[in-house]
């Protein structure tokens, strides 16, 4: 049977086409403005390097094994930090949610931990863990730990009483109440915490590499900028953006609830 688009289907396709056309137009406008700034605008190449210089530098970067080594380190730091924060946050959130007193005590502390500008503490992390990968992982893991734990507690403690009543009425064990009811009901909130945590991890790792490190893409950007190799700096930023987009996409795919 031939597949035919229904009316709303066609409209959706047309709208999608418009959106992509507009995105392309926006990109071209940005590139056009860049080109104008390089030529007639006479903007200093120290602020805005030639577009061609950046693309040249980017092709060079992508072709070099050194770049991928650095990128590998950065990605590894991100994944390690996220794993630690997720495991620690879920476990702590679960344990803290079990008593009303302890949960009420912990909630504001965790909220403050989330809002506190942790960057201020980064020098201490360097002192404690050293300039290697450890300090980046520890710093990003701590940053992501707070929203993950906080959302886990809130999710587990705000389960609708009607679901718990079903558990009681059918004689659920406390293990079943935890895993079949509470974690199920709290899942959207916990996933939201994990999503926040994953974006915090990407930001914190790069920030930490910029602030003090000997490896990683953040370090490469810092090096290029301090040597006034602005085109290299731009190219590395571009690569970093592409990598984080891919990582975020994968995370979002993994962290989507089935019934949402």
């Amino acid at each position: 049977m031939p597949i035919t688009l229904t009316r709303p289907g066609r409209r959706v396709v047309r709208r999608q086409a418009t959106i992509w056309a507009l995105r392309l137009a926006l990109l071209l406008a940005v590139l056009g403005a860049w080109r104008y700034a390089n030529t007639a605008g006479e903007v200093s190449p120290l602020i805005l390097p030639q577009l061609s210089a950046v693309t040249d530098s980017f092709t060079q970067l992508v072709g070099s094994s050194h770049t991928w080594q650095q990128a590998g380190i950065t990605v590894l730091e991100m994944l390690a930090a996220f794993t630690i924060a997720a495991v620690g946050g879920l476990l702590c959130g679960f344990l803290l949610s079990r008593g009303p007193v302890i949960a009420r005590t912990a909630e504001p502390l965790l909220a403050w931990g989330y809002m506190f500008p942790l960057a201020l503490l980064y020098p201490l992390f360097l002192l404690w863990v050293g300039v290697g990968m450890g300090s980046k992982i520890a710093y990003a893991a701590v940053g992501a730990f707070f929203p993950i734990t906080y959302n886990t507690i809130r999710g587990l403690r705000s389960v609708d009483a009607k679901y718990l009543q079903v558990g009681r009425a059918f004689g659920a064990s406390s293990l079943q109440v935890d895993f079949n009811i509470k974690f199920g009901a709290a899942r959207p909130m916990i996933l939201a915490g994990l999503r926040i945590g994953s974006s915090i991890v990407t930001i914190f790792v790069v920030l930490a590499e910029l602030l003090g490190s000997q490896k990683g893409l953040g370090h490469e950007i810092e090096q290029a900028s301090s040597r006034l190799m602005i085109a290299d700096s731009y190219a590395t930023v571009l690569l970093l953006i592409l990598i984080t987009i891919v990582l975020q996409r994968v995370m979002e795919r993994l962290l989507r609830a089935k019934h949402e």
Binding site: K162, Y163, F170, G171, G184, A185, H259
Partner: protein, 269 residues
């Protein structure tokens, strides 16, 4: 021996606080095996409290509930299984998982729960919806799933708390006629709370009328017409007479409650 006996039951909320509330007062009631009993009464008269106490979700302040002669201290879904007003399906579980969840909670293996879930879903007419999630189902279909979840335990008694309360008139009627077949075949005793006079009469072997708070049993009416009944039963004189009688009774109890509330609040001022 009766299936379930409620003996001189009193339930108070917030005992020894200033908000102490007498929900049920000295209630005596028996339910026989296979019998269909409907409970009707003004809002807030303690109907739900009575039902929840019968199933062991609430402990009596005084008096006792016995199932097959044994005092009920906590819910035992294999004796008496609940169907709640708001369906209470888990939105994060599929329809089939939901239908099997009661059995899982009651300690059955996953395989047993799943095969019973399939059987019961077919029984309530939802064979093809097992893979769906509750959100994709209409209110009437969700309530069928909740009924399947309860029937999966093959309980001797179903406790239904306004199972059709959230449904529109047409859906209620369709589900109602279907359900009389389903419950007729399953052979359980049923205690059902309802706000609808038609439902209270149409379903019941016996109608329990409760007075306004504190909840007491004001009257018990036996409906002799054999079940399952056809919709035509609703056009008979007996049905109409019962309906008028129930309507008047509820009016009286409602007015009593309103007057008492008015005088008690006047006394406070």
């Amino acid at each position: 021996m009766s299936l379930l006996t409620v003996d001189n039951l009193t339930v108070k909320y917030g005992v020894d606080t200033k908000d102490e509330l007498l929900a049920c007062h000295e209630i005596d009631l028996t339910i026989e095996g296979g019998e269909f009993v409907t409970i009707i009464g003004p809002s807030g008269c303690g109907k739900s409290t009575l039902l929840h106490t019968m199933g062991g979700l609430i402990s009596p302040t005084d008096g006792a509930v016995r199932f097959d002669g044994v005092p009920v201290t906590k819910p035992n879904p294999r004796n008496a299984a609940f169907v709640f007003q708001d369906y209470s399906l888990f939105p994060w579980k599929s329809v089939e998982e939901n239908a099997g969840m009661g059995l899982r909670f009651a300690g059955a293996s996953k395989a047993e729960a799943m095969s019973q879930a399939k059987t019961q879903l077919e029984f309530v007419g939802l064979k093809d919806f097992g893979e769906r999630y509750p959100r994709a189902l209409s209110g009437g279909m969700q309530q069928r799933v909740a009924i399947a979840r309860a029937l999966a335990l093959e309980p001797k008694l179903l406790l239904m708390d306004e199972p059709f309360g959230a449904l529109d008139e047409q859906t209620r009627r369709n589900l109602g006629t279907d359900l009389s077949r389903i419950l007729g075949e399953a052979g359980q005793a049923v205690v059902m709370i309802t706000h609808s006079l038609d439902e209270a009469i149409f379903w019941a072997d016996r109608i329990v009328v409760m007075s306004a708070r504190p909840g007491r049993i004001a009257e018990e009416i036996t409906v002799e017409t054999p079940r399952p009944r056809q919709l035509e039963f609703m056009t008979t004189k007996r049905f109409q007479d019962l309906r008028v009688h129930l309507f008047e009774q509820l009016e009286v109890h409602q007015r009593d409650a309103a007057e008492r509330d008015a005088s008690s609040s006047a006394a406070v001022v």
